[in-house]
Amino acid sequence: MASLGIHNIRKIYPNGVEVLKGINLDIADGEFLILVGGSGCGKSTLLNMIAGLEPVTEGEITIGGKRVNDLPPKDRDIAMVFQSYALYPSMSVRQNIAFGLSLRKVPKAEQEATIARVAKLLQIEPLLDRKPAQLSGGQRQRVAMGRALAREPQIFLFDEPLSNLDAKLRVEMRSEIKLLHKRLGITTVYVTHDQIEAMTLGDKIAVMKDGVVQQFGTPDEIYNRPVNTFVAGFMGSPPMNLIPATLAINDGKLCAEVTVGPTGSKRVHLPLFGFDTSTLDTLTSTGSSVLLGLRPEHLTDTGRSNGMTANLTVPVDLAEPTGADTLIFITLGGARCIARLHPTAVAGRDEVELVVDTSAAVVFDRHTQEAIAFARV
């Protein structure tokens, strides 16, 4: 097992397209790193570069402190699981797992022992003599993981391994991957476009866009303290509300002035709790026009007040019951927002009273889209 270092990595294709623009990530031995972003953000390219399948244009990749830029994949002591599973079609499951071992001239008896161990771990013993074509999607996924595990690699690389599975299986395999990681403690890099996978699996998450890491941190940091509106909108489902607001001092307290309802005729002052007073001056002076970031669960019904809240009555544009919660669409600051309420608080009402937990808010600059102040310290 080993740490992984990615320093100033750039990737420029011969046709001049720059897909990675200076990536810096460091994870410790045994950590689970998630690379998440939309399609074309460069996350898979970065993974391929860690694997050694794509040459590095500039920068340095280290595994266990050793520079691996010029090592071929087989000498990097990594194993990889692919989106399409990439099982060798002409070989049985057993041969698929043994392929890498036999290429590295592992003695036959040892190969057999490894296959048995891996098959037991992943419960694929009855499948060993089948061909990949005779397996279901979930079974193929397990075999692909088994093949990777057989190597006993320093680093595990996953390239969107669950996106070809149906929803139910995906949730199952997700927790299984997490369990496996907990049990084996192998350093892992996992590429996904699914923010739920990112939140549930990762020790560290790197949110990427256009070849740049937007934010690198723990799931908690990414979720609660997004550094810009892209991260705020990408992580979380439904995403963070971004409410156009104006900052003002009202009764000596910092407030956000927001219009309410589709017509925008009503204005309210939401007191912002828990903001560092030292940032107050900069906040009010740097043009007071901001975006107020609030998660749907921080716009909720009166039953969930914690004292650091402001109350607000809003007209309901649309209600979407999801079972446990009901999501309501409302208009704040002229933007469509989503609030998460207890189902009984909504039933049949045109207007609801919300509590707004402003102590969980993030203030973004409306022009740069960067976060300029966080409430919780």
């Binding site: 050694g52 994949p73 087989k74 099982l87």
Partner: protein, 282 residues
């Protein structure tokens, strides 16, 4: 479908089959008749007293040019030329297709396009330059020269076949094998080749037919000892001395065509399957 429709369908099919098979029948029946019977009887009548004498003569003693050893030595020449040429061009084509799809390099697309142009160059255009080349290398008038010509000429086609087949093989398969520690040739041999059966059949049939049936390269580049059966057949049929032996000519023509027929019968079903085979699902 109603009865009348079905009847019409079968009538159309049977008459088409008859139309296609009639020349074959004439060849076969004529080859089994004596010369006397051919002169007296009608063209399409079955032989009264079938004889294999014309076949024996065509195979062993008929004169083509000045040699009177039948088609046998030339048939062997054809085998000696066709089998290596087919195998080499197919294997190299497979390697080309593999490299062009899964080990792309700068200019690989251009190279492929350039190779494709090779499919459209008429035989006649390359005759003179090829003759000079073979002479310079010292393999003119030999079976090696013929093999070389057919391999070079066939590569455009075999590369095209394999490239289009391998482009359907997911790139992740090759990546997975690389991570597992396999190199260029190991991946080709252990991963790609085992799933290439259908396209191999297509290539072999195509190349075998092309090379076995070729006349022009044979007549131009072969020495008198290495002439393929197509050239010998021409000489045999066109010999102007003596009586015209239609039965021997027909038997010789069938003998010359037999290997291609055989390849189609044995491997024909793979031909269609291979041509229509899509991506390989892993």
């Amino acid at each position: 479908m109603n009865r009348a429709g079905r009847f019409l369908l079968y009538a159309a099919l049977v008459s088409t089959a008859f139309y296609a098979l009639a020349p074959m029948w004439v060849m076969l029946s004529t080859s089994l008749k004596t010369l006397d019977e051919i002169r007296e009887g009608s063209l399409i009548a079955a032989p009264h007293a079938p004889t294999i004498e014309p076949w024996l003569k065509a195979w062993g003693t008929a004169c083509s040019g000045v040699r009177c050893e039948g088609l046998k030595p030339f048939f062997l020449n054809s085998l000696l030329m066709t089998i290596p040429a087919v195998l080499i061009s197919t294997l190299v084509g497979a390697l080309n297709g593999y490299a062009l799809t899964h080990w792309r390099f700068r200019g690989s697309d251009f190279l492929f396009t350039a190779l494709l142009v090779g499919c459209f160059i008429p035989f006649q255009v390359v005759l003179l330059p090829m003759a000079r080349l073979l002479g310079a290398v010292g393999i003119s008038d030999s079976v090696f020269g013929l093999i070389f010509v057919h391999v070079v000429y066939g590569l455009a086609f075999t590369t095209l076949f394999f490239r289009n087949y391998y482009i359907g093989v997911p790139g992740e398969l090759v990546k997975a094998a690389r991570v597992d520690g396999a190199g260029f040739f190991t991946i080709f041999q252990r991963i790609l080749l085992p799933i290439s059966g259908p396209i191999f059949m297509v290539c072999v049939i195509w190349q075998f037919t092309q090379i076995w049936n070729d006349f022009l390269f044979g007549v131009v580049f072969a020495g008198s000892d290495s002439q393929p059966v197509t050239v010998a057949l021409n000489n045999l049929v066109r010999t102007s001395t003596g009586v015209k032996e239609y039965n021997v000519d027909m038997a010789a023509a069938i003998i010359a065509a037999l290997p291609t027929l055989l390849v189609y019968i044995v491997a024909g079903k793979y031909f269609v399957r291979g041509l229509t085979a899509g991506a390989v699902k892993g």
